[in-house]
């Protein structure tokens, strides 16, 4: 990507290359400072959510649903997945990743082909069921929006739709592949 653009620029305007790169990097520094402010607020609040046991509560609520979707025999893996998804819903990305890795490890049978439950975990995580798009709201506020939170509702509707679609498509593909291999 960079090589391509450099070749292009060599022909069109070689004098602007360095100035473009430098102004981009100082913009990146400004953005990082903004992000830092956003993270202070949200990471502080999210720490409270974790410490007060709210995230475990949500995981408990999700457990029956997870049982239906994943169809696993292993109780502990189900719990890990429930905690992973609830952490994702709250925007606790750093807390959710190790949980998912652990769950994947427990589901790993040593075969090179992913099991349906593993794929379901990927697909659900990829469609991201975020209840609060924390960073996006923060950046929008920092840019001077008059009502930064008014994207919550459309985001929520979209994310619920895509997650449902992911589950349905995942189940559908599971059936198609099963038939093909039998």
């Amino acid at each position: 990507m960079i090589v391509f653009s450099l070749c292009f620029l060599l022909v069109s305007s070689p004098e602007s290359v360095l100035s473009q790169m430098l102004s981009a990097s100082s913009q990146a520094l400004a953005l990082s400072a903004e992000l830092c402010g956003v993270y202070v607020v949200w990471l502080g609040i999210l720490e409270l959510v974790e410490a007060s046991g709210l995230s475990q509560k949500l995981a408990k609520l999700l457990h029956p649903v997870i049982k239906k979707i994943f169809n696993l025999k292993d109780q502990q893996t189900e719990e890990l997945i429930a905690m992973n998804i609830s952490a994702n819903m709250l925007g606790l990305g750093n807390a959710s990743t190790p949980l998912a890795i652990k769950a994947m490890k427990r589901m790993d049978s040593g075969s090179p082909v992913a099991s349906p439950a593993m794929i379901m975990l990927i697909v659900i995580n990829a469609s991201s069921i975020q209840l609060l798009p924390t960073t996006v709201i923060g950046l929008r506020q920092a840019a001077g929006s008059t009502c930064a939170a008014d994207i919550i509702l459309p985001t929520l509707i979209t994310t619920i739709c895509t997650t449902l679609l992911a589950i349905v498509l995942g189940k559908l593909c599971q059936k198609i592949f099963k038939r093909r291999f039998k």
């Binding site: 990507m1 391509f4 653009s5 450099l6 292009f8 620029l9 069109s12 790169m21 102004s23 981009a24 913009q27 990146a28 520094l29 953005l31 990082s32 992000l35 993270y39 607020v41 990471l43 502080g44 609040i45 720490e47 409270l48 410490a51 007060s52 046991g53 990743t97 994947m104 090179p112 082909v113 794929i119 990927i122 697909v123 995580n125 990829a126 469609s127 991201s128 609060l132 798009p133 960073t135 996006v136 709201i137 950046l139 929008r140 840019a143 929006s145 009502c147 939170a149 994207i151 919550i152 509702l153 459309p154 985001t155 979209t158 739709c161 895509t162 679609l165 992911a166 498509l169 593909c173």
Partner: protein, 168 residues
Amino acid sequence: MSLYILPLLFLFIFVYSHFKKVSTYDTFIQGAKKSIPLVIDIFPYIAAIMIAVALLRSSGITALLAQWSSPVFNFLGIPSQLIELVLLRPFTGSGSYALLSDVLALYGPDSYISRCACVILGCSETIFYVTTIYMSQTKVKKLLYAIPVALICSTIGSILACLLCRIM
């Protein structure tokens, strides 16, 4: 209604933590402490992506790309100004935040395009990155239909996001 969601949520979290006998101040500090290392971690990625995008833009490649693909994006109802964002999103999280802040500055945070960009980012995930990390400790090599299904869902999410921003 959206106006009250966040303040009420914050109030609820603080009151609930207080009832659970969590020391709110210390816990908040513990969480806030993590922000600086996190930003230091992602800063080089943000800088690299922003430099690459700046070069791409000034070389005129993105303009060409946008011109070619705009019929497709128009058909899907996604503003052609968001082409970079939609294409980059599955690969890099910090990079897409860099692009988002660009869009916010360029078109104003309350414009239709910015709202679309916010909703698209809010409801999508860095598919390739997440998948690599999740599978890193297993022996799985074949993911069958996982990636296509994830990409289809996020594309439909982007279309729906632009649609909802128009009516809401």
